[in-house]
C-alpha cells in the first residue's frame, strides 16, 4: 500500500511537483500518466528514497520514505527510466550482482522472475550493453524483481521499446500484479493508461485527476467527432477558427473535435468546411479515450 500526502519538491527556484496526493492499494496497478517534464520521475525518486521531499509525507507499506529509508530500499524494486545496469557485465552477471547486493540468490526467487528471465536466458552470456531495447527492459525488470519486492516502481519502462515488446511488458506486469505485488508505473503513452487499474493524470507538477481509466473516459462530457479531409493542416486551422469550436486536436489520421454546444450540428460543420474549400469531408462520431480526456484537462 502506498499513501502519498501533500508532497512538494522544488529544484532551486523551479517547482517540480506540488500538492501531490494519491494512494495505491495492495496488488493494484497504478499508472502516472503525463507528458515529459510533468514531474513523474520526481515523484518516483521521492518514493524510492533517492531524493527528499520539501514538504509532505509518503508511506509505503507502513514505512516512511524519509525516516525508514533503509527498510524502503528492501521492499521496493525500482527500475529507473534510463537503463541503469552494468553494460559491460553479462545478463547473468548483472542479475547475480543485484541478487547478492540484496542478500539473496537467483535460485531463491527464480519463481518470480522465471517468466521474464527465461525469455532472455538464451542470451545470458551476452553483455547487457549489447542487448536490444526490449531485452534490456526485461533484464532490468528481472533485476528489480530479484529480491522479491512488495512494491515495484517502474519509471517509463516502455519508452523506446517496440510495440510488440510493450505489449509483452504489460502482460508481464499483469501477471506480477496477480502475485500480489503493488505496481506503480509511469508512462507518457496514453494508450497504456487503459491497461492500469487506476491512473493519475499529471501535468506541470500537479495531479489533475485520479480514477479508473473507464471512469475517466466516462467523465468526458462533450460529444466527440473525428473529422478528416484532404488537407489536414488547413482543416486544423479552419476548425480552430470556427465559432462553435471548443477544441480541435490532431489525433493520428483524424482531428478530434468538440463543440461549445452540447450537440454537434454535423450539417452546419460540413457546410462551413465546404465553404472553406475542403474536399472528401468525413465526419464520424467516436468514443473518447484517455488522451481526449487528458487534452480536455489541459485546455
Amino acid at each position: 500500500m502506498i499513501s502519498v500526502q501533500n508532497i512538494k519538491k522544488s529544484y532551486g527556484d523551479t517547482l517540480a511537483v506540488s500538492n501531490i496526493n494519491f494512494s495505491v492499494e495492495q496488488a493494484e496497478l497504478f499508472g502516472l500518466i503525463g507528458p515529459d517534464g510533468a514531474g513523474k520521475t520526481t515523484i518516483f525518486r521521492i518514493l524510492t528514497s533517492l531524493i527528499l521531499p520539501d514538504e509532505g509525507k509518503a508511506i509505503l507499506n507502513g514505512y516512511d520514505v524519509v525516516k525508514d529509508y533503509k527498510k524502503i530500499r528492501q521492499i521496493i524494486g525500482y527500475m529507473p527510466g534510463r537503463f541503469s545496469l552494468y553494460q559491460d557485465l553479462s545478463v547473468e552477471e548483472n542479475l547475480n550482482f543485484f541478487a547478492t547486493v540484496f542478500g539473496t540468490t537467483i535460485e531463491e526467487n527464480y519463481d518470480l522472475i522465471k517468466d521474464i528471465y527465461k525469455q532472455i536466458e538464451p542470451f545470458k552470456k551476452r553483455r547487457a550493453g549489447k542487448l536490444s531495447g526490449g531485452m534490456k527492459q526485461k533484464l532490468a525488470l528481472s533485476c528489480a524483481l530479484i529480491h522479491k519486492p512488495e512494491i515495484l516502481v517502474l519509471d517509463e519502462p516502455t519508452t523506446g521499446v517496440d510495440a510488440v515488446s510493450r505489449k509483452e511488458f504489460w502482460d508481464m506486469l499483469q501477471r506480477l500484479k496477480e502475485k500480489g505485488i503493488t505496481i506503480l508505473v509511469s508512462t507518457p503513452y496514453m494508450d497504456e493508461a487503459s491497461l492500469c487499474d487506476r491512473v493519475a493524470l499529471i501535468q506541470n507538477g500537479q495531479i489533475m485527476q485520479i480514477d479508473t481509466p473507464d471512469n475517466i473516459v466516462k467523465s468526458f462530457k462533450h460529444e466527440l467527432i473525428a473529422v478528416k479531409t484532404e488537407n489536414m493542416h488547413k482543416l486544423l486551422h479552419d476548425l480552430r477558427n470556427f465559432s462553435d469550436t471548443h477544441s480541435a486536436f490532431l489525433f493520428g489520421q483524424n482531428i478530434h473535435y468538440t463543440s461549445i454546444n452540447s450537440k454537434i450540428n454535423n450539417e452546419e460543420l460540413k457546410h462551413y468546411l465546404q465553404k472553406n474549400n475542403h474536399k472528401n469531408i468525413e465526419i464520424n462520431k467516436i468514443q473518447a479515450n484517455i488522451e481526449d480526456c487528458f487534452m480536455e484537462l489541459m485546455t
Partner: protein, 373 residues
C-alpha cells in the same frame, strides 16, 4: 563480507573488460619509467660556448683550451667583438659568452689581478646556475696553475696555503640521477593510477546512471566504497612491484632497505590517494570534471613534492604547504628506504603523517558520499 567480495569481483571483471585499462596498467609504467628516468636528468653537458678572446696571449689561450677540453662545454663560435657575441646569445646560438679583455695577461702580471666576463643566458635558471658553476671552476683551475707557475709555489709551501675540499657523496656515490629519479617516478606512477583510475571509476557509475540502481538497494555505502577501492589498491601495489623490477633490471637502482617496508608504506599511501580520488568523485558529476580536479591536485602536489626540485630550496610558505602534501612524504620515504636503507623507526614520522592523512581523507570522502541527494 559477501557483498564486498562480490563487488570486488565485479570491479575486476569490469576493469579487465575495459579495453583501455590493460594497456594503462602495463604500458604506462614501462613508458614512464624508461622515458622519464632517462630524460629527466639534471646533468648538463654540451653547454654552447662563445669565446671572445681579445687578448690572444698565452694565458688566455690556456684558458680557452681548458674550456675546449671540458666535457661540459662546446665552443660554437669565436669572435673578437662583444657586440657580435651578444647577438649570438640573443639568436640562441650559444648559452654562455666568455669575454677575455685586452691586456688580460698584462694586467695579471702587473697587478696580479685581472677580470674576465661571463655572459650567461639565464632563461632556464637551473642551466644558468650550473653553467656558471662549471665555468667558475675551470677558471679557478687556471688561477691555481698560474700562481703555481709564476710564483713557483708548490704543495706544502707556506707562501700559498689553501683548504682543499674532498667530496664524498653518500647513498649515491656517483651522483647518478637515475638512482635518484626512479623512486620518484615510481611514486608518480602509482599516484596516477590511484588518483585517476579510482576516482574516474566511481564517477563513471554516476555518469552512466548505474549509481541510481545501486542507491535504491540496501547496500551499505562503506561496503560499496571498500569494494570499489580495493581492486585499485591491489593494482597499484602490483604496479609498484612491476616498477621496481624494471628499475632493478634496466637502471640497476640500489634496493637497500626492506621491500616489506616499501610495500607497507605504499599500502598506507595508496589509501590516502584513493581517498582523494574518491573525494574528487563525490564532488564531481562526470569523468571530465573529475579529470580536471585530479589533474589539478596531481600537478600541484607533484611539483611541490621534491620530485624535480629540492624542497629545501622552496620558500618557507612552500615548505609549510608541503606538510600537507602526501606525495612529498611518500617520495621521501621511498628514497630513504630504497637508497639509504632506512628502517621502520627512521620513517616512523612519515608513516604517522600518512596514516593521519588516510583517516582524514577517508572520513571526508565517505561523509561527502551520499546515496540520497
Amino acid at each position: 563480507m559477501r557483498t564486498i567480495k562480490f563487488i570486488i569481483q565485479k570491479e575486476f571483471k569490469q576493469i579487465f573488460r575495459n579495453k583501455s585499462m590493460l594497456p594503462m596498467i602495463f604500458v604506462i609504467p614501462l613508458v614512464q619509467l624508461l622515458v622519464l628516468v632517462n630524460a629527466a636528468t639534471f646533468e648538463i653537458k654540451n653547454i654552447d660556448l662563445i669565446i671572445v678572446d681579445k687578448d690572444l696571449s698565452s694565458t688566455s689561450r690556456q684558458l680557452t683550451a681548458k674550456f675546449n677540453g671540458s666535457a661540459f662545454f662546446n665552443v660554437v663560435k669565436t669572435t673578437f667583438s662583444v657586440q657580435q657575441a651578444e647577438d649570438y646569445l640573443y639568436q640562441d646560438i650559444g648559452d654562455l659568452v666568455l669575454v677575455i679583455p685586452q691586456n688580460f695577461e698584462k694586467q695579471l702580471v702587473k697587478n696580479q689581478k685581472a677580470d674576465i666576463q661571463l655572459l650567461i643566458n639565464a632563461i632556464d635558471g637551473v642551466v644558468a646556475g650550473l653553467s656558471n658553476y662549471y665555468a667558475t671552476s675551470i677558471i679557478a683551475g687556471l688561477n691555481k696553475e698560474v700562481i703555481t707557475r709564476w710564483y713557483g709555489v708548490s704543495k706544502g709551501n707556506s707562501a700559498y696555503k689553501q683548504i682543499s675540499i674532498q667530496y664524498s657523496h653518500w647513498y649515491n656515490p656517483e651522483l647518478n640521477y637515475k638512482t635518484f629519479m626512479v623512486p620518484g617516478i615510481l611514486v608518480l606512477l602509482i599516484t596516477n593510477i590511484g588518483l585517476f583510475l579510482a576516482g574516474m571509476n566511481l564517477v563513471r557509475e554516476k555518469e552512466i546512471g548505474t549509481i541510481e540502481q545501486i542507491n535504491v538497494t540496501p547496500i551499505k555505502k562503506h561496503h560499496f566504497i571498500i569494494g570499489k577501492l580495493i581492486p585499485f589498491w591491489i593494482i597499484s601495489l602490483f604496479e609498484l612491484a612491476l616498477g621496481l623490477i624494471i628499475g632493478k633490471l634496466v637502471f640497476d637502482i640500489p634496493i637497500i632497505g626492506s621491500l616489506w617496508l616499501v610495500f607497507s608504506v605504499t599500502a598506507i599511501y595508496m589509501l590516502v590517494v584513493l581517498a582523494i580520488g574518491l573525494f574528487i568523485s563525490t564532488i564531481t558529476e562526470n569523468q571530465l570534471q573529475a579529470m580536471f580536479f585530479a589533474f589539478f591536485f596531481n600537478l600541484v602536489f607533484i611539483l611541490m613534492s621534491g620530485l624535480f626540485t629540492a624542497v629545501e630550496s622552496m620558500p618557507t610558505w612552500g615548505q609549510i604547504l608541503n606538510k600537507i602534501n602526501p606525495i612529498a612524504y611518500f617520495i621521501r620515504v621511498m628514497r630513504m628506504v630504497l637508497l639509504k636503507g632506512s628502517t621502520f623507526i627512521d620513517i616512523l614520522p612519515e608513516i604517522i603523517s600518512l596514516s593521519m592523512f588516510a583517516v582524514l581523507m577517508f572520513s571526508l570522502a565517505v561523509w561527502n558520499y551520499r546515496k540520497t541527494s
